[in-house]
């Protein structure tokens, strides 16, 4: 029991250290998000509300850039929801591990994102009666939540001071940032097909339908390819 206790302290220290460094890395995206929010016409409180309440980066970037490209509020909202579907899968996976209930469950749900889930699942679920998994999830979730919001604020405030965002190439930076976000997810041939298909559908529809719709239409590519290829592994 004595040695388990000492080990736990080392493990705990390591987990917390990792959680903090993930938070710092994510803060880079947070600054870009804050900057993007205010350059595309959201106020600072609206940009902050997204980071505080929505708290899932890809959906936030999607909502804001759909609005920026002239899409209606409704298409932007739907696109952000589609982007958030994977969080449902994450919280389903994490709930039995976290063993939360009541208010704890409501908070855990909000902190369920790519990073906290990945860190939680990276631990051995049975180690230290599940304490390692739970600590990894909570430490990462909280560290990312605090630093993401702080970074959003810094980005939002500093860019509202700049005039035309095009002068500094911020429009290109948005495209590059989104590309950097999706780049590590594209590995298999199926994923490449979905990536190219989504881009092509969006571009070919752009001249004919109102902004925002082309991006939603790209979701069909994922549904069709996902449905047909997912079946093969039944």
């Amino acid at each position: 029991m004595e040695s388990t206790g000492t080990n736990w302290l080392t493990v705990r220290k390591e987990i917390i250290g990792n959680a903090l460094s993930i938070g710092v890395a994510v803060a880079m995206y947070g600054v870009s998000f804050g900057a993007l929010g205010t350059t595309t016409g959201l106020t600072i409180p609206q940009t902050m509300a997204l980071s505080l309440l929505m708290f899932t980066g890809a959906s936030q970037f999607t909502l804001v850039s759909t609005l920026a490209s002239g899409g209606t509020a409704l298409t932007a909202v739907i696109a952000s929801w589609l982007m958030g579907t994977r969080n449902a899968a994450y919280s389903m996976r994490m709930t039995p591990i976290l063993k939360t209930s009541g208010v704890g469950r409501l908070v855990a749900v909000q902190l369920t994102i790519d990073e906290s889930t990945a860190m939680g699942l990276a631990q051995d679920e049975t180690a230290y009666e599940g304490r390692a998994s739970r600590l990894a999830f909570w430490a990462t979730g909280l560290s990312v939540y605090v630093l993401w919001n702080l970074a959003t604020f810094i980005g939002a405030v500093s860019v509202s001071a700049i005039g035309d965002p095009k002068t500094f190439g911020l429009d290109a930076a948005i495209a590059a940032g989104l590309f950097a976000l999706v780049w590590p997810q594209i590995k298999s041939r199926i994923e490449i097909a979905v990536a190219l298909g989504g881009a092509l559908i969006a571009l070919s529809l752009t001249p004919f339908v109102s902004p925002g719709i082309p991006v939603l239409a790209a979701a069909l590519v994922a549904v069709i390819i996902g449905w047909t290829t997912g079946r093969r592994f039944l």
Binding site: Q46, A49, L50, L53, M54, F55, A58, S59, S65, L67, S69, G70, A73, V77, S80, L82, M83, G84, T85, R86, A88, A89, Y90, S91, M92, T95, R105, A108, V109, K166, T167, F168, G169, D171, A172, A173, A175, A176, G177, F179, A180, V182, I190, V194, L196, G198, A199, A202, L203, P211, V215, A217, A219, A222, V223, G226, W227, T229, G230, F233
Partner: protein, 102 residues
């Protein structure tokens, strides 16, 4: 704008909550799993394409295109996020400053 912000946030929270409340086997279906995995890829790539080539409903080739090409090279060399973003901004901003692209 507040409508988009609040409705978007409410839906995203609901999605996170739904996962904790529904029986596990629904999302364990291989087809559903695969669609959930591929959705962000399709949407983000569509956004990248639109953000690079479109101005409202017109397709254009301007300073954003070379900027994205440079960013792609940086990604291939595993450059960190912030470098990719800054390099793209510098390329587009630089080309515009010297009047080489709009």
């Amino acid at each position: 704008m507040w409508f988009a912000v609040l409705a978007g946030a409410a839906g995203c929270y609901a999605l996170k909550y739904v996962g904790s409340a529904i029986p596990g086997h629904v999302l364990e279906k291989p087809t559903v799993k695969q669609v959930v995995l591929l959705l962000p890829i399709a949407l983000l790539c569509a956004l990248v394409a639109v953000q690079t080539f479109a101005t409202n409903q017109t397709l254009v080739i301007d300073a954003r295109v070379p900027a994205l090409a440079v960013a792609t090279v940086a990604l291939r060399f595993r450059a960190p996020f912030i470098v990719v973003v800054l390099i793209a901004a510098a390329t587009a901003g630089g080309l515009r400053y010297f009047g080489l692209a709009s």
